[in-house]
């Protein structure tokens, strides 16, 4: 097979890969940027998969990150339907699933990950889904389009599981959600927000089961017929959606000797891996995080983080200094209710509630050592907007400044702007 070369080869045409390729389009060098994506079709936005595309038309049409015309005229060469299966860090080449070898000066790994599975008996039955990409959503919508599916079980009460539960309710299915932890969203938020979202889902008719594990799936022929819980309860189901997180797609990089493990590939502040000329960005990259309680290395799964990594890698590859750190932010939409978060709440030592969850609009401030570490906001866009600069500045509030929901949080200029 023919051998190609590019100055920068980007593997994975998702949020991080596209942002990076676009940023380097004219500055990578004479051989340019080659963007390789395993999925077919134009690169698209992932968040709508479990939001408006889940409840919209039977045949979901993705929201492209850039139009076809854009890619036609861009100096970036986009190749979709191509999976990279190996990396040779000494020869500086990658191998594709079509048997092709492609040379690089700099390689950027931007592969995101696969939906994690529970490893339960019966998980490969027809009717069992998980949602990571458009093909996954299309398969789910195809099953639902038949109209025969009436009962759904969602396994996992994280952002994706909850968005799927909300969407399936809106489509008229009976939905049971099973979460092994004692509360929903346990990895990403505190007890007040967990309780509010549990109440929201129950109000909308979801049967929320907490602190219970699914132990196996029951079959009817090659189709799923139900799930069995640890306490022996059986739930009948026509469709099961497993939303238990993702596994970073890093096998080829690890095999090439990059430092990391199945939990992600390790990168520094500039998104460089331990291999010379190889960077990693987005969901697959594990990086020391100054916003976490311990500063420990972690992966952050968000569009915002994908953009920050892409910008950091683009700076590194064009010889510019790193930009200052920016606190992470996240958003999720369920039944039209907007949960928006800035910062990382884990490891907090005090929580202050602003407003009344019963009204549907409230925020929770998470403090560490008296400083604002994170802010969860539920349908309170002003708190979210102002909270970003406050978390960035590790604001030290008084209780009075936080607690009265009718008094706005103070306005600081965004990070990077000089404060006198």
């Amino acid at each position: 097979m023919s051998t190609h070369r590019a100055d920068v080869v980007v593997v994975g045409a998702g949020h991080a890969g596209v942002q990076l390729a676009v940023a380097l389009a004219t500055s990578a060098g004479p051989r340019g940027v080659l963007l390789l994506g395993a999925e077919s079709g134009l690169p698209y936005e992932r968040p709508p998969l479990t939001k408006k595309l889940l409840v919209g038309s039977d045949q979901p049409v993705p929201v492209p990150l850039r139009s076809a015309a854009y890619w036609d005229r861009s100096p970036v060469t986009l190749r979709t339907g191509t999976r990279v299966v190996s990396v040779d860090p000494d020869a500086r080449t990658v191998g594709t699933d079509a048997g092709e070898t492609i040379g690089y000066r700099d390689l950027v790994w931007a592969t995101g990950g696969r939906a994690a599975r529970c490893g339960l008996p019966g998980e490969d039955l027809r009717g069992v889904h998980s949602i990571r990409d458009l093909a996954d959503l299309t398969a789910l919508r195809r099953q639902l389009a038949g109209g025969a599916a009436a009962r759904a079980v969602v396994v996992g009460g994280g952002y994706v599981g909850l968005e799927v539960a909300a969407g399936l309710r809106q489509l008229g299915l009976a939905v049971t959600l099973v979460e092994v932890a004692p509360r929903l969203l346990a990895r990403v938020t505190g007890t007040v927000v967990s309780a509010a979202f549990t109440a929201l889902h129950r109000r909308r008719g979801v049967d929320v089961r907490l602190g219970t594990a699914v132990t196996r799936l029951r079959a009817d022929g090659d189709r799923v017929a139900g799930v069995v819980l640890a306490d022996g309860t059986e739930l009948a189901a026509d469709v099961v959606v497993v939303g238990v997180g993702m596994r970073p797609e890093v096998d080829a990089l690890l095999a090439a000797g990059a430092r990391g493990d199945t939990g992600g590939v390790d990168v520094d502040e500039q998104c460089r891996t331990s291999l010379p000329g190889v960077l990693a960005v987005g969901d697959c990259a594990r990086q020391a995080n100054p916003w976490s309680a311990t500063g420990a290395a972690m992966r952050v799964e968000s569009v915002h983080n994908a953009g920050l990594h892409a910008a950091a890698a683009a700076r590194a590859l064009t010889g510019r200094l790193p930009a200052g750190p920016v606190p992470p932010r996240f958003w999720s939409t369920q039944y039209g209710v907007e949960l928006r978060t800035v910062g990382l709440s884990a490891g907090d030592d005090e929580q202050v509630l602003r407003g009344d969850p019963a009204t549907g609009s409230f925020s929770v401030a998470y403090l560490r050592g008296g400083r604002l570490a994170a802010l969860d906001t539920v349908d309170r866009p002003r708190d979210f907007a102002r909270g970003q600069a406050l978390v960035a500045a590790a604001w030290q509030p008084t209780r009075a400044e936080l607690i009265d929901p009718d008094t706005d949080l103070p306005r600081l200029q965004p990070a990077g702007t000089s404060v006198t």
Binding site: Y70, H304, R382
Partner: protein, 103 residues
Amino acid sequence: MTFTVEETGRELVLDASGHATLMQVAVEADVPGIVGECGGEMTCGTCHVHVESTPAGYTAARSHDEEDMLEVVDAPAPGSRLACQLPVTPAVAGLRLRVPAPS
């Protein structure tokens, strides 16, 4: 319609047709400083522009959510808008926008 990029001083005259919002127009044209990270959800502020002149017949009111976000963007100005909240309409041709330089 015209984008003036403060950082480089360049003026870009763009055709908005085929797009729903001015954020999309700018992203498709690689206008420096416009990222559109949240896809128009009003959570990122990375589509902030200053409206310099509005042609007759072009109206788009600011929502409360947009005003909240605009309070905290870099380089706010009286004409500040989120480009993702500016629709493409037939009257858009004469619109002039400025992309503020990063501080």
